[in-house]
Every structure is written in C-alpha cells, then in structure tokens.
Amino acid sequence: MSWFHTWSGLLLGWLLYAVFFTGTLSYFLDEVNDWMRPELHSSVPHNNALSAEKAIATLQTLAPEASNWTINLPNARQTAVEAMWRPQGAQGREGMKRVQLDAATGDVIPVRETRGGSFLYRFHFELYAMPRIWARWIVGIATFVMFVAIISGVITHKKIFTDFFTFRPRKGQRSWLDAHNATAVMALPFHIVITFSGLLLLMTMLMPWGADAVYDGQGNRFNAERRGMVMAPNGQRPANAQAGGQREGRGRGEDAQVKPVDLAPIAPMLAAAQVQWGDRPVGSINIQNPNTRRATVELREEGGQSLLNRGTGARLLFDGVTGEEKEAAPVRDVSSAAAVMNSMISVHLGRFADPAVRWLLFLSGVVGTFMAATGLVMWVVKRQPERRKLGYTPKGHRLVEVLNVAAIGGLSVAVAGYFWANRLLPVEMAQRSAAEINCFFVIWLLCLVHAAIRPHAKAWLEQMALAALAFVLLPLLNVFTGGSGLWVTIPNAQWSIAGFDCMMLALACVHAAVVCHLVKRTSAKSRAAAASKVTGVTPMKTALQAQEEQA
C-alpha cells in the first residue's frame, strides 16, 4: 500500500496542491471579488433599509418594465448592493442583467472587467483552457484517488495514531513525515468530507448510470427532483411552478393597458422581518412583477441555520402593492437522501457558514494545503541518502525538484501576480479579464523556467521570497490603485475588503516564515562547507549532510 501512496501522491500531488490552494482561497470568493473591483470600495454600507430603498429607486429608473428584480444587500462579505433584473421574456441565468450599486446613494458603480475570485474558484475543479468535461474528469479522478489514499492510509498506517501528537523538529525526513502525518490526521474529518463531497459534486458526471437507468437519461429531471422541485412526469416543469416566463408575461400584457401601480414602501417590510428574525438580517429582496397589480416582495434571510436544505434561510412574502404579509409557500421537507447529499455539498461549498465556521473551513483548507506540500517535499528529502550514495542527482529526482518548486512556490507567485495584474492592467483595456488570467499563467510558467535553471535551494528561497514580497505589498497596492486601505475599511466595517488585505498579510507571513527557515538552512550549510575545508572532507558531502540534518 505504501508504494501506492508514494507514487499516486507524487503524480497527483501537484494537481491536488493547486486544487487545495485555489479551493481554499475560494472560501473567500466574495471577499476576493470585492477586492478585485476597487470601484466598489467607495460604497460604505450603513443602513440596509436605506440601501434597499435607494436600490429600488435605481431599478425603477433602470428597468421599470422588468419581470423580476433581485437585490442582494450588503453584508460582512459584500460592500456594495448587487441589483439584478430580468427583462420581459428573458430566460435562464444569462437573461439576468446585473449592476453594482453604491450602498449609500444607490448610484450605479461601473466596475472593471475581471473574472475576480471566480477564476480561482473555477480553476479548482475545471482547470483552464481545456474542455470543461475533461478537466472535471481529471480533478474527479485525482479526488477519487485521494479518497482511496485517505481510507487506505488510515487502515495501513496504524502508527499515525500512536504518533498522533508527535512532532520531532529538525530531524530531516522524520520531521517532514511528522508534519505530513499531523496535517493529514488531525484534519482527517475535513479531508474525508471535502474529498467525498467533491466526488458527490461531480457525481452525475463520474457515475451517471444509476440516474440514467431510473430517469431514462433525463438528467435534468433527476437534478430537479433532487433539489426538491416538482416536475411533471414528462420532464417539463408544471405551469404553476414556472417562475417568470409566459404566465407573468401575460399578466404584464394586461397591466400594460393600465397605469403602472405604485409599489408599497420596503421599509415596513424590512422592519417586519427584523421583528420575526431578530438579529438575523435580511440578505436579499426579490420583487416579482414590479409596478403591476400582482407584484410580490419576498425577503430572504441571510445565510441559513441548517445544512440539510442547502443552507436556505427563512423567507417572508408580502403583497407588493398593499404591503401586507402573505402566506409564503410552505417549505418542503427534505428527504433523508437529499439531506445527506445537501449536508455534504453545503460543507464543501461553505455558503451557509457564519464567520466562525467559514474560518474553520478556510484554516482546515490551509492545513490540507500544507499536507499536500509536505508530502511533495518529503519525496525529495527521502531520496537524499540515495543521491548521496550515487554521488549525482538522477534526472527523475531533479525533475521532481523542479516541479515541486514550480507547483508550490510558483503557484503562490502566480496567485499574487494575478492580484497585481488586476490592479496594474489598464481599466479600459479590451478583453481585460482574459489578460489578467494570462498574466497568472505566464507568471506560473516563468516560475517553472526559473525553477529549472536555478539550483534547488536557491529556487525555493527566491520564489518564496518573491511571493512573500508580492503578498505583503498588496494592501499597499490596493491603496495606490483606487482601493481603500485597512485604516479606512476597518473603521467603516467593510470586512470583505479588510479581510482580503489581512489574508494577504497572513499569506506573506507564512511565506516569510518559510524564507527564514530556508535562510537558516543555507547559512548552516555554508558553515559546514567552511568547516570541511579545515578537516579535509569533501565539501559536497558535508553540505548535503548538513542540508539533510537541517531539512
């Protein structure tokens, strides 16, 4: 079993490291998106009731004829108001129009073109520049192998439990193994759930046969039933469950003859929600058929209390014209199978999570990233004695060294470079978001070249130092390229932006710690080389020994 862990770990480790790194950052997707659009930083939310009124006023001028308005109010993870509307007759997600509004004034904020954190999020399961299905298969297979490796690892490596609390620093390979074990075993619940739920998310692609057999290949019907939607037997949605579309279009047609109807003020509805929900705020407002007699206003609670229903919160429904509360459709009970599925997926996505749980998931992701990194480094460290015996470095070992530096150090530099590109590329540039992503990959490629032409220890040191420097300067770059600095965002409680800046500083600290460790190791090595001149031992040999002792 051990050989399987070693070799699958090596081959998939580079991919899994990238998946872990970008996936962990994706727990702060909204924060990254806010930071990467510095135009939004001037929007300081104070009073969500006021923001809602202003947003409705803006939508009234932008899209009075729309069939639906949705307003996502600012919260700890979002500093501006996101307003969306569906023009008459538009279908699907693509039919939605979307703008960002200033929380205080309701003015439209024009934002730069960027994929933002969504690029990192998509990259962690769809990679880039290859057919989506291929990428999902590659990541799916890697996830599957990791799941097998976790389960078999727990069974075969019994020693991980007797060494549960053991870390032996400054012992070369021993220390790397201890660190690898600790990060793997102590975050084991996270690793098991994240890999298993990752497989569940790709379930219908990896294993379509069960659903195919039962649903005669009607995948969309299976998915709809799984999400608790009602479907008629022929796979069409029944007319009464159809949101938007023709039925409401007809309603609009009748109303178009008469004068538009004024909407009831939103503030009393928000107040009613506050009475019922206490300190749990309203997250979003959904207005169906605005400016018509059949207008309805639905308030949705921010976040949710349970994982079983995919983190859906409470809802309140109001008549849009009279402002009276209406009976909301009863929340359907989820079946046990759906509850298991939902709870797994919700943990993976973390959308439900309050800040404490979100941070736990993020830090667990960091631990997982460390696990992948220590495993990769260990492959090299473990083979040091063999190399010493041979007296030269086999090509395969050198290849692994180069790929390790590029996969670990290079990815950090590339991610930092992506954030830099976001601010340094001209705002009005054509195909700007693609250019940002190209910067990411070009920098990553340059890191690979750098790792190949520099000696191993130097390559580590230089890339880690560059990453630390790039991360630590990002909060400053933020200020000089139109964003708001920490001294503005913290007093204003703009936690999404402040959180991103703090996260960059934390990343800089982690990389700086690695740099310190590497510098100490190098100076110990040069001391050993100096000593060996006196004693007459070949410097190469002592240097390698010193490196191993220090590793």
């Binding site: 007797t162 549960f164 609390f165 053991t166 870390f167 032996r168 620093p169 600790a182 102590m186 975050a187 619940p189 996270f190 209390q305 349970s306 994982l307 079983l308 709870s343 919700s346 943990v347 439900f352 999570a353 404490a356 749980v357 736990l360 998931l361 830090l363 667990s364 631990v367």
Partner: protein, 110 residues
Amino acid sequence: MMGWSIWLLSVPAFAALSLAMGKHHEQVFAQEITPQQQWRWRAVGVLLLALSLVVSLHYWATSVAIVAWLGGLTFAALFVGVILTYAPQRLRLLALLCGLLGVWVSLISW
C-alpha cells in the same frame, strides 16, 4: 464567542487524551503511566470532548454543530501537538486555563 468555547474545551480534552499515552505521560510527568491512570485520562478526555459537542449542539443547528465541532477538534489537537513539541511542561497549565476559560465562556453565552 461560543465558537471559541468548543476549541477551549477540546484543548484540555486532547491534553488528557495525550496524557493517556505512555510517551507523552512520561514527557509531562517524568514517570511511567499505570493502566489505572491511563483509563482515568482517557475518561477525562472523552468526557470533555462530549462536553464540547454538547456546547456546539446548543449553539448551532445539529448539522452545522457537527461541522463546527470537528473543525474545533482539528485545531485543538494541532495546538496540543505544538505544545507537546515545544513546551511539554506548560501543557498542564495551558490545558487547565483553556478548560476554565471554556467553561466560563459557555456559561456566560449559554
């Protein structure tokens, strides 16, 4: 606030579980562990873990509570591991402090 008490209560729990292991018992008390002591430390550890689960279940809905509890355990165990590596003599004091603080935080925010 309550989120912290899960971690605070799991630190003494994992400290007790580590003291039930011969290697770490010797590290901290400089004497070999007797089977009786071993069972006693294990019982203390398991009880404290159960207590932190109860606190978590009180604070969150069951599904989220289990996630938060397991997350808290991860970082409590890592913390105990770090202490055992770099300052094993401090383990008893730190665990005691964490435990008391955990009980206090749970009580005031119950």
